[in-house]
Amino acid sequence: MTVHNLYLFDRNGVCLHYSEWHRKKQAGIPKEEEYKLMYGMLFSIRSFVSKMSPLDMKDGFLAFQTSRYKLHYYETPTGIKVVMNTDLGVGSIRDVLHHIYSALYVELVVKNPLCPLGQTVQSELFRSRLDSYVRSLPFFSARAG
């Protein structure tokens, strides 16, 4: 099991943070374009899912998987979106994504007066805490380095 990468978007589609661990293939487009494509895809999936649903939804879109990876999605009521790509063996990681939001983003960015909201997070503390948190996850494979 591995974690490939993580995106953090705000409600306007700005990519607040991106980090990658075991990513074997790049999208072949500049990073900024990739963020836009990812946000656009999630935006469309959200509207697609809300129209397709036979019942009223609570959490909405949770995850999708292809033959090679699984994308986990978590959105807060304020519109912050946490997206993590892992391999297929990982089950539901809602609590992990919620922890990244509540214990890392809120504590280290929202409560930090030196971090302006709505822009890429510059905080080195947030970056390193997030990295060590993801590396400590049970499904983060150590062998792939």
Binding site: L37, M52, T66
Partner: protein, 257 residues
């Protein structure tokens, strides 16, 4: 545990077949007096609740009926505009039924091609080499399963999140598509599939490929293409033989089921 819908999308993203199999969604009917304590707005040619969630009426629900009369889009069945009608104090008290908006066939076409693009983007954004598009999409109310064949046709099934065995269902739908749509000589590729019972299929009879008007396993007669005596002959299903086969009433050829 249920299957909600089935979609078949061709390789260009067009919807060629669609089936819904769920009971009407939760609906709420309530009688209101003049000023209406809900905020309604027009969105996509439908009257939706914008504010004032109460008694099973939720934001995003559409007005389905007024005083028992169905509402089509923004007009009632007798041609009155919904918002105008509800804005007039003389029409109160009024009974309004709310529910999740039903998908129109145009919306289904749009959603099918939308999924076609999402499928492609899902594979482009893959962090791993050689990824397919979206195979399974999970939400809290349903799971969407998609199987793309080598020829690019997508079979999409919406099912309950706990429903198992969808993969084999998708393969079975592909099989049925191959047997009863592709082998139908009147079917043109990439075009909508008109599903009707007793449709034509091709079978082996009289030592040649022939046209049957029924799938080989259904009861009742099917037409054999041997054209003896200037017209096609009936083939009957014989269940007494194991496995059951069809017997042409003229050429006495067996058709395998």
């Amino acid at each position: 545990m249920a299957i909600f819908s089935v979609y078949v999308v061709n390789k260009a993203g067009g919807l060629i077949y669609q089936l819904d199999s769920y009971a009407p969604r939760a609906e709420a009917e309530k009688t209101f007096s003049y000023p209406l304590d809900l905020l309604l707005k027009l969105h996509d040619e439908r009257v939706l609740v914008a504010f004032g969630q109460r008694d099973g009426i939720r934001v995003g629900h559409a007005v389905l009926a007024i005083n028992g009369m169905d509402v089509n889009g923004r007009y009632t069945a007798d041609g009155k505009e919904v918002l105008e009608y509800l804005g007039n104090p003389a029409n109160y008290p009024v009974s309004i039924r709310f529910g999740r908006p039903r998908l129109t066939s145009n919306e289904k076409l749009m959603l099918a091609s939308m999924f076609h693009s999402l499928f492609a983007i899902g594979s482009q954004l893959s962090p791993e080499q050689g990824s397919s598009g979206i195979e399974m999409l999970e939400t809290d109310t349903f799971k969407l399963h998609c199987y793309q064949t080598l020829t690019g046709i997508k079979f999409v099934v919406l099912a309950d999140p706990r429903q198992a065995g969808i993969d084999s269902l998708l393969r079975k739908i592909y099989e049925i598509y191959s047997d009863f749509a592709l082998k139908n000589p009147f079917y043109s590729l990439e075009m909508p599939i008109r599903a009707c019972r007793g449709k034509a299929t091709v079978g082996w009879c009289s030592g040649t490929w022939t046209l049957f008007t029924q799938p080989s396993w259904t009861l009742g007669p099917s037409w054999c293409g041997c054209f003896v005596g200037g017209r096609r002959q009936l083939c009957w299903l014989h269940k007494s033989l194991q496995p059951p086969r069809r017997l042409c009433s003229n050429c006495s050829a067996w058709q395998w089921c």
